[in-house]
Amino acid sequence: MVEAIREALHQEMERDDRVVVYGEDVAVNGGVFRATDGLLERFGPRRVVDMPISEAAIVGTTVGLAATGMAPVCEIQFLGFAHQAMHQLAGQVARLRYRSWGRFDAPITIRAPFGGGVRTPELHSDEIVGHFAAIPGLKVAVPATAADAKGLLTAAIRSPDPVLVCEPLRGYRLVRDDVPDGEHVVPLGQARRAREGDDVLIVAWSFMVELACRAADELAAEGIRASVLDLRTLVPLDVEAIVAGVERCGRVVVVQEAAETMGFASEVIATINDECLWSLEAPVVRVSGYDVPYPVGMLEDLYVPDVARIVAAVRRALEA
């Protein structure tokens, strides 16, 4: 997946000289996960810049760059540290167009990896994508596949709106699907049907899609046909795809790495309530982390949803 991200960055920098890439360790080092490797050599130190360790400045400068006609693409080394820039993100970046009542476009992209199960230190793993989906004016992409990592990032860079692209760090090396060569744009706001089936709908995003698919495969062996819906973006939310899935299956599981309370699964459930409650044949089952801070390495596998928990949740949904 990380190659797909690199490819998108290369292509977009090639295509549009308004694009600049910056963040902590993105230039000389090519990013701590090598997502920006080779950009410095190709595009030079003006367009690929190592920044001082100051997330608020990294995020907040996008406002000024956008106002002068640039298309900044910055990286927050780990999504947990986007909280350092929360005021710039929620109060400024997401409101640039709004505060100026349409004067300024905001072709701003912020990339940040997150996700558990790989024994990173504190705040590197936390799934807090819901915190950002709560910000009006910010789009939030959560790719699950390498192809989407490329296609959604490309769409984000080309979008005149600020987009936070949350990349699954567990997937950087592990997820290896076919990635279209050349230009590849996945529109923001269209969910993907990762598995087809009529018995139960599993809604997921980011690395949880991979686990949901494995669970679906396991269930298929028992004759249970599960759909997996990969949301791809939380904002805009593909409400139609959710409704279609609920109507088709009647039973729903939502999987998230986030803590239960106020994870994005709550919004999915609230959306189902609004749109198609009576299509439910059972309460939606949430599979989540717990309402505790993301735990240390020795405990994290008990916290992050795994295939067994997803399978168990499907059974609960089917039995209810």
Binding site: A56, G60, G64, T68, Q88
Partner: protein, 362 residues
């Protein structure tokens, strides 16, 4: 528009050590040209007039909040006159927007719209290089560095000038922005109208630094203190900083020492905390008087001038105010300026609001 003061005491020469320029000496302002001094005085008078009008309008319940500029007119006007509006950007905090006439007469109407709570208050139509008011303290300093960096990347000639209060220098955003600007050698001018107060908090409770200008040492570029009551001194310092920035020598921090003559805003009661003697002493150096004395010394003072300027200012203000209150609002536009295209959910909400508006206002 831009006139560089000849022979400025080049802050660059001082490397990273702060340079203190006291009340500007009597030589250099003369070199600025009396026409410029006269124009700055007119605009300062206009700013004072607008500030007082807005205060009264607030007291009459016609606008929700007033944010007086009184005491800091010289900082805004002096600084802005050292810029070239065709290439330089201004990022105000919240007191400056009524005093940006070199950026167009329209800026005053926008400032009034903002205070009225009109959604177009933050919209300065292109090509006006002015950012919306900023309420979230110090965030605009980061934006200014982004603007300056953008100009640098595009090879454009301008600079970014950002205003922020003394209190705002305690925010992490100030430090992050200034530090980055130092590393990038970005063409940005940091102007701090040090009005000695952050609401009720005096500077000594805000920082133990010897001065605000001193803080530039932490970021590797010059910091200077100027007399913020003297528009000529402010102009000179900003012109020098601009020359540095344009030459590729990077940022300058300018502390413009002044005083907040009035309340923080119309919601504030400064009698709870401002020592009256201190205020009285500061008022003796009212920036309007300081500039008047300069013109007198140059033999260019005309007793009729202030009255004429006030009359003119009132006419302009009232015209801008009338235009502002007459400007229509379209509530549904709320959904049009969030993203380039509303999301499906926003379209649903827009339709709901449209229906409400139809039933509520028949």
């Amino acid at each position: 528009m831009t006139r560089e003061a000849p022979d400025p005491r080049d802050p660059a020469a001082a490397s990273v050590r702060p340079v203190t320029t006291g009340p500007a000496d009597d030589r250099s302002p003369a070199l600025l040209g009396t026409a410029l001094l006269e124009r700055m005085l007119e605009e300062m008078i206009a700013a004072r007039v607008a500030s007082r009008r807005l205060w009264n309008l607030q007291r009459q319940g016609r606008i929700p909040l007033a944010v007086p500029i009184d005491g800091q007119e010289a900082v805004t006007v002096g600084a802005v006159h050292a810029l070239d509006p065709s290439v330089d950007w201004v990022l105000p905090q919240y007191r400056e927007p009524i005093a940006l006439r070199p950026y167009g007469e329209d800026t005053l109407e926008r400032a009034i719209l903002y205070l009225l709570g009109h959604p177009e208050g933050g919209h300065h139509p292109a090509p006006t290089r002015v950012f919306p008011h900023q309420i979230s303290l110090a965030t605009q300093i980061v934006h200014a560095v982004g603007v300056a960096w953008g100009l640098q990347l595009r090879g454009e000639p301008g600079v970014a000038l950002v205003f922020f209060g003394d209190g705002s220098t305690s925010e992490g955003d100030f430090a992050e922005a200034a530090n980055l600007a130092g590393v990038l050698r970005a063409p940005v001018i940091f102007v701090c109208p040090n009005n000695q107060w952050a609401i009720s908090t005096p500077l000594r409770s805000q920082t133990a630094a010897a001065s605000i200008a001193d803080k530039a040492v932490a970021f590797g570029f010059p910091g200077v203190v100027v007399d913020g009551m003297d528009a000529a001194a402010v102009h000179e310092a900003v012109a020098a900083a601009r020359a540095r920035a344009v030459a590729g020598d990077g940022p300058t921090l300018i502390e413009a020492a002044c005083y907040r003559f009035g309340a923080h805003t119309s919601s504030d009661d400064p009698t709870r905390y401002v020592p009256p003697e201190e205020l009285a002493a500061a008022r003796e150096r009212d920036p309007l008087l300081v500039l008047r004395h300069r013109l007198e010394a140059l033999g260019r003072w005309d007793d009729a001038r202030p009255q004429a300027a006030e009359d003119d200012a009132l006419v302009r203000f009232d015209a801008a105010y009338e235009r502002a209150v007459a400007r229509p609002t379209d509530p549904l536009a709320m959904f049009d300026h969030v993203f380039a295209e509303p999301t499906p959910r926003q379209r649903r909400q827009r339709a709901e609001l449209a229906a409400r508006l139809r039933t509520e206002t028949p």
